[in-house]
């Protein structure tokens, strides 16, 4: 990769922005990036995902937002249920106020720079960049170094009404490959309840790489539902980091659905910093063609009496490859932790592959922790049972797989999104939901 190119852009960016917290963090992050570089497969966290190949390409970092996307373009990729949701739109990694639509009174959305400079400087300096302590690679550092056009999202107390917020990451990539690095910081105040849906879409035909970082902070009694839908073009890649920090007794519930894409890497971290917090992590990955989907999750139990539940399921077809690495840390003070993790995979073709590594690191003794992991194919008995009742083999297979996927899909509590996700999976299985 041409590091000089990034250096030049970085110098331009730093010269154009005011000194302050973000400025300093960017400087630090660029130093990290220069030192770390793009991870190779020798890096344990990237053992099964050859991401460095993507960086052989000469990417073009987008300059500040060119107005190339219209309301019609956006409408084509909108997710169901948007009518009642606040819609936040990023174009080529830059937040677009013009396209966004805030439909909740409790929601404040500000450019990250403005939040850092004005009323929210305490929050920004306390939480922006916390994920860097967990993800120490050049790609993450590069995102932090190029924090520009990012957004700060603040949700106040919502009186037990869940506020749906849809985030769209749009990449134009019409004439040249597009490399976008959106960044956001979400803060859920006391008793704030949010249903966050996130998706990214490349509108052009060129290759694209969306390396995004979202950091979410949960205050006392906050509730977060987070749904990530990944169903982009075959030449669209993603490195997607979600870092959830539960600083008050709170509840988080995430579902990651990964279908199409070239190379998809998800980092999902949940840091439990307040007792009696709860975290639920669900995921379904279904690569086909030559897709590669990599899910890395971390649940970090730092205090006593927390509970986490994790279920990731994979269906791997054609030449699709999957990676799952789930880490559970239980620190020494985190007694009475309950942490469960399960990863189940079905291989449909003899060219598909799965590499999985459930990982427990436990330093407290009074805990209940377990993980399980399976790799297999559809049960012969199940198929036979259905076939013996006159159901054709192909349909029987789809039915069983749909049932397999349902365990995760049913965890989506936002009804229009659940139906949408269900339909996407059914279409992939060539199966009509009755």
């Amino acid at each position: 990769m041409n590091t000089q190119y990034y250096q030049d852009h970085f110098t331009r960016l730093q010269a154009a922005t005011r000194p302050g917290h973000l400025h300093a963090r960017r400087e630090e992050a660029f130093r990290d990036f220069s030192r770390l570089g793009i991870p190779t497969t020798r890096n344990e966290e990237w053992k099964y995902t050859r991401i460095s190949g993507l960086f052989n390409k000469e990417w073009h970092l987008p300059l500040l937002q060119e107005k190339t996307i219209t309301e019609n373009d956006l409408h084509a990729v909108r997710l169901p249920g948007y009518e009642t949701a606040s819609e936040l739109v990023f174009v080529n990694g830059f937040f677009s106020f013009a396209l966004s639509n805030i439909r909740s009174e409790s929601l404040t959305v500000l450019p990250l720079e403005e939040a850092a400079a004005n009323g929210y400087s305490d929050i920004v300096s306390a939480h922006f960049g916390h994920s860097s302590g967990y993800i120490k690679d050049g790609i993450h550092a590069l995102n932090t170094a190029f924090t520009e056009g990012g957004v700060f999202i603040h949700l106040r107390k919502t009186k037990h009404e869940k506020q749906p917020v849809y985030i769209y990451h749009l990449t134009t990539a019409e004439h040249e490959p597009g490399f976008t690095q959106p960044r956001s910081l979400v803060y859920l105040g006391e008793q704030a309840e949010m249903q966050l849906v996130e998706t990214s879409m490349c509108l052009g035909q060129q290759d694209s790489l969306n390396s995004q970082v979202i950091e979410i902070v949960l205050e006392e009694a906050a509730v977060l539902e987070y749904y990530k839908i990944q169903h982009d073009h075959d030449n669209a890649s993603q490195v997607n980091t979600t870092h959830i920090r539960q600083i008050g007794k709170s509840y988080s519930h995430t579902v990651t659905l990964s279908l199409n894409g070239n190379m998809v890497r998800n980092n999902l971290n949940v840091v439990l910093e307040a007792s009696h917090s709860e975290a639920h992590l669900y995921g379904l990955y279904f690569p086909k063609g030559k897709s590669h989907i990599d899910n890395h999750t971390i649940v970090d139990n730092r205090v006593p009496h927390c509970e986490s539940n994790e279920l990731y399921k994979g269906i791997l077809d054609e030449q699709g490859t999957g990676v799952f690495n789930g880490k559970i840390f239980v620190r020494q003070p985190a007694q009475k932790t309950n942490a469960f993790q399960s990863n189940k995979n079905v291989l449909l073709s003899d060219t598909a592959a799965i590499n999985t590594k459930p990982q427990l690191e436990i330093f407290a003794d009074d805990v209940k922790c377990s993980h399980g992991c399976t790799v297999g194919r559809l049960s012969e008995e199940g198929l036979f049972y259905l076939q013996s009742r006159g159901i054709p083999e192909k349909t029987a297979q789809s039915m069983l797989l749909h049932g397999f996927a349902e365990d995760v899909l049913e965890k989506i509590k936002l009804e229009p999104i659940r139906r949408y996700a269900d339909a996407l999976v059914a279409a992939r299985l060539e199966y009509d939901i009755v």
Binding site: E44, Y48, Q332, Q335, N345, L347, L348, S349, D350, A352, A353, I354, N355, T356, K357, P358, Q359, L360, E361, I362, F363, A364, D365, D366, V367, K368, C369, S370, H371, G372, C373, T374, V375, G376, R377
Partner: protein
Amino acid sequence: MDTMNDINSDIQKAVMADYKYGFVTDIEADAAPKGLNEEIIRFISVKKNEPEWMLEWRLKAYRHWLNMEEPSWANLKHPPIDYQDIIYYSAPKQKVKPGSLDEIDPELRRTFEKLGISLEEQKRLSGVAVDAVVDSVSIGTTFKAQLAELGIIFCSMSEAIQEHPELVRKYLGSVVPATDNYFAALNSAVFTDGSFCYIPEGVRCPMELSTYFRINAENTGQFERTLIVAEPGSYVSYLEGCTAPMRDENQLHAAVVELVAQERGEIKYSTVQNWYPGDKQGNGGIYNFVTKRGICKGDHAKISWTQVETGSAITWKYPSVILKGDHSVGEFYSVALTNHYQQADTGTKMMHIGKNTRSRIVSKGISAGFSNNSYRGLVQVGKNAANARNFSQCDSLLLGDKCGAHTFPYIEVKNNTGVVEHEATTSKIGEDQLFYCNQRGIDTETAVALIINGFAREVMNQLPMEFAVEAQKLLAISLEGSVG
């Protein structure tokens, strides 16, 4: 809770008990100077009267080793090892080979007796042939004649190099190449002795073969090399057990064990390891960096590893099976117990290559004190390994809140007919379990021993009778009644 505290302090006493097997046998050693270079390797080779090809092999490994880096990926912390501060050759002074046990140095005999494994007892009662290794040179092999009748070769590696060079040359390094990893390369360059075992076609070895390793002279790293070959249709059960005297300084141990099982051949390899784990503050103790690997070369071959690891300051050990033959079977049963400041990073690798291969992993980790215990395993199903089947279970038991238990299972599946299952749990001894026992008149200490033995039972059951007794004693000594 007061009674609980009392119990805990009792337990502390028991847990903090001194290492029972720490004593130094006073035998004059014939040692090489400290340090490692080509001269030392030539010295070892000359001392052992080795043929030219052996020396070449050693030198090749050494030159490769010079360009390697010590691995740092394991979940272990230790001060850097100074490879120039180690004596690479030390042999007990014994010019004439003993014809019978009576000719063995009485001092040495007493060492074994103190360990409760007197050779006579073993010979008389259990019919075990013992190839006792003290400081790198084999000094007594029993039952050799009986084995020879069946065509079984069971001797020290040095002897094998002299008397069966064609076999050694054919198989040495065929499973663990001289350049395999940092510690295997080091071992290949400087190994001084070990055991060699060859079971001819169709022979079922009538007794358990066993080697007692014992590290003795001060500052001597022990570099054992073991090679076991089971020809088609043969069977052998091999036992390896170790205890070491107390030491202030860290001692490095980098052994290599290679197993070759041909068609329908079966090898069962059991280990009880209780080397000096260091004192209660974590000073001293053995560094145990071992490469163990077996290959099921032919169809229907089977290799089974069983280990009970209670000693060593650091354990770095991954007994593996390459399942190359169709229908071959690999097994790994392990109990790893760490106390005080011990660290263990151990597990297995099962590489499924042939069709219809099966493997089973049962790993039980017990951590107490300030220790860290990691399971690190790999199950790999290759593209052509149709119908591969694996089941893995890793359970951890934590005794105390200052220790750690970790699992790093890697599962790589490239064939859709493979079925792989892995499960792991971490827990402590429940107060309800203790209460249940107490209420039936079983005191806490006995109850804990009971529960730990139950926890490890699945693995202990795999040990041959002679070993199972000793292994249970070891668990008890290392951990009498620890309660979290």
